[in-house]
Symmetry: C2
Subunit: 431 residues, 2 copies
């Protein structure tokens, strides 16, 4: 497929955050051209170049898609199932017993539901930690979506052998799928297992990802057990010699930040989840100043509950402003970089996160012809401070348009996916 987007405001997010009038050409799954208009109007040709489709953007914004850098997609079934509960009660009495009832087929269906939500909100890739990664990978590929998987290894689920097998196999499963070494968290994973993960990281020269310092209690208990913060303890086991990163990173000490800096780790912030579960507010400005790669994730739909990077972006800067009592903290441009290129970097997607010839065609169109984007004073500030999923007009992943003007093109009718999700939760609660 050759698709030409013209009459666009292009936010390429390559070297700068400038918006330039121009066009973008897509050939198969890659971007072929980003620059000034070369042909004027529909039906025109650049040499003998034939277009399968020419899309007049009428001045709307074309930009790389958002990267949801931490989520548990299949938890859609628990959306609004048990809210407004204390964290331990929520996890122990509601989440864990329900998760135990999930089948592989359920995980496939529930991941597809999350993918619809990603597409409707301009998300073009996700970093997914959940059980049965094969089923998540299949859901993504069937929908045409891009997913980077990460192992959720812990004392109760999976094994080093399974992770290594998945690492080898799922990294060659489909061009839209990658798989990273990882584990659930320090507090759910024995030192023996962690040493095994470190050995695999060494064997494959691979990065390692995990939940890290999400709650004060987690950090305090780790210090109680090991005399070190989770970051320092995990680093002492050699887990981060080839990079990787942490999800949440709310309670980071200066020393933790130094370790992230030294190891080149990404910190993925999840402000919506951290608010809803009353976990705390991350030290975004301090991590920015230390030059750490920052990315943004929604966390899973049971704890957030929506998979909306617009909301997360506002929260990243809004919470930083509150935390530091400084309205100038973490400006919009920095947040947008986290949500796009920072995310791509965290996931190891070198060919995503900006629009340039040769890069993967993961891009979105933002409708500026809506009241919340007017007047057009500053589209980047608008995206972060007043943007909404309502503004997402088109979402393309790997050169395929998967969402346009409210309609999904994922090989299945949304109604069928909704029905299956409702059937799954009804079965679980015995109705």
């Amino acid at each position: 497929m050759r698709i030409r987007f013209y009459n666009a405001r292009v936010l390429a997010m390559d070297a700068d955050m400038e918006i330039r009038r121009g066009e973008v050409w897509v050939e198969e799954n890659r971007i072929a051209y980003v620059g000034p208009g070369k042909a004027s109007g529909p039906g025109s040709r650049e040499g003998d170049r034939k277009w399968d489709r020419e899309i007049d953007l009428e001045g709307n914004l074309l930009m790389p898609g958002f990267v949801n850098a931490h989520t548990h997609s299949a938890m859609t079934f628990l959306r609004s199932f048990a809210d407004d509960l204390p964290l331990q009660e929520w996890l122990g009495q509601q989440v864990f017993p329900m998760e135990a009832k999930l089948t592989g087929e359920d995980i496939y269906e529930l991941s597809r539901l999350a993918i619809l939500e990603y597409l409707s909100g301009g998300i073009t890739a996700n970093f997914d930690m959940y059980f049965q990664p094969d089923m998540i990978a299949k859901a993504s590929v069937d929908c045409g979506f891009r997913t980077v998987l990460v192992s959720s290894l812990n004392n109760f689920t999976s094994s080093l052998e399974a992770m290594e097998e998945e690492y080898q196999r799922l990294n060659h499963y489909d061009e839209k799928i990658c798989y990273h070494l990882g584990f659930h968290a320090e507090y759910t994973t024995s030192e023996e297992l962690l040493r095994g993960v470190a050995a695999l990281a060494e064997k494959y020269h691979a990065p390692v990802y995990t939940h890290n310092s999400e709650t004060r209690r987690e950090v305090e208990e780790c210090i109680g057990r090991h005399g070190m913060t989770p970051t320092a303890y995990l680093d002492s086991l050699g887990l981060f010699l080839y990079g990787g990163g942490g999800y949440h990173c709310v309670y980071m000490t200066d020393e933790d930040i130094r370790i992230f800096q030294e190891r080149g780790l990404s910190a993925v912030t999840n402000p919506g989840s951290n608010m809803k579960l009353a976990s705390g507010v991350a030290r975004i400005s301090d991590m920015m100043r230390a030059g750490i790669n920052l990315a943004v994730g929604t966390d899973g739909p049971a704890s957030n509950n929506c998979l909306d990077m617009f909301r997360e972006m506002f929260l990243v800067t809004g919470l930083a402003k509150l935390r530091e009592e400084d309205a100038a903290a973490v400006p919009a441009e920095a947040v947008l970089r986290m949500a796009v290129s920072g995310g791509a970097k965290a996931l190891g997607l070198a060919d995503c996160g900006c629009l340039a010839a040769g890069k993967l065609a993961d891009l979105i169109v933002i409708d500026l012809q809506q009241p919340n984007m007017q007047p057009v004073n500053h589209p980047v500030k608008n995206l972060v401070y007043s943007g909404s999923k309502q503004n997402v007009k088109l979402t393309m992943v790997n050169g395929q348009i998967l969402y346009e003007d409210g309609r999904f093109f994922v090989g299945t009718e949304p109604g069928e996916i909704y029905e299956n999700a409702n059937r799954i939760i009804r079965r679980m609660v015995g109705k």
Copy 2:
């Protein structure tokens, strides 16, 4: 016009927060019936009742519209014009000089832009404080929207005489317009003027509204001047003998809360603005426990920057959870009441805020057939935790459908309103 909504999930928000299958009938500007389905399918008749339109909601949610209980609509021109600046610099160097250039015609156009945004987000009434209330009223009436105006009297703008004249006149201008006594804030209004406002409140037995305790500095400076917090000082002048309320209410003492309770004042929270300007987090749970009527507002689009009650609702509960380190703080049901019935009460709109026969037909349809609302575990939790403007399918004000499936019916094409807003800001910056 007689309109019948059927096959609905109805969240009437009258006595409880239950959702019931059924239908809602609208006749002229009022609700004629809320209850179980009386006729089955399109084309059917209840007696000789004739419908101008019958709308099959296909199981989607029908509920009263959101009430935006504090805003400065016409500030749309400054959306994303000067963000990420310290508060004083933002106000003094950016906002005030630009506002000085506004004409009445500008205020009319810019208010219309805000009204489009309200409609696209399911807001059916607003509480608007800005200069030239006549122009705001005209914008609202021309669009078919409901606006409650409040005077922005201060040492530099308006006068007691103008306010009284507006009070008498604008309360009889149109059935969709009300006008309340008010003033900008303690720190911008002399004691002489405040005593004049108190005299008018006494004369008309009228409530009084103002910005109150938005920042720590405001409260400290008031204590420095008067030895009292803004709430205590204003109350000591007799301003709240007939009720009214405060916008923001971030830095409230126990004594302030007691005064709000005793005087039956409404506290309007503006979490998005308070985050973006790094002002602080209101004591929502404490005010709830004291039985104070709570409402939610977006504040103006220069400080927020979007006029989105979904974002505000998530922030009300999310910030309370963070503040109290308790994931159970301010549950979704309480937030939704604030955003709907609490708002209606704060504005003095006795016939809004719930769906019942005889009430005004200010209602919205929420599309549940979107991924962020699936599975349908708990629509009320969904609205607050994962709802989005994207889910607003229809907005009706005073019996008129003003927004449906992305299209506006406000007597003017949105493109014309956008063009005018861009022209105004270009003129101001001399481009």
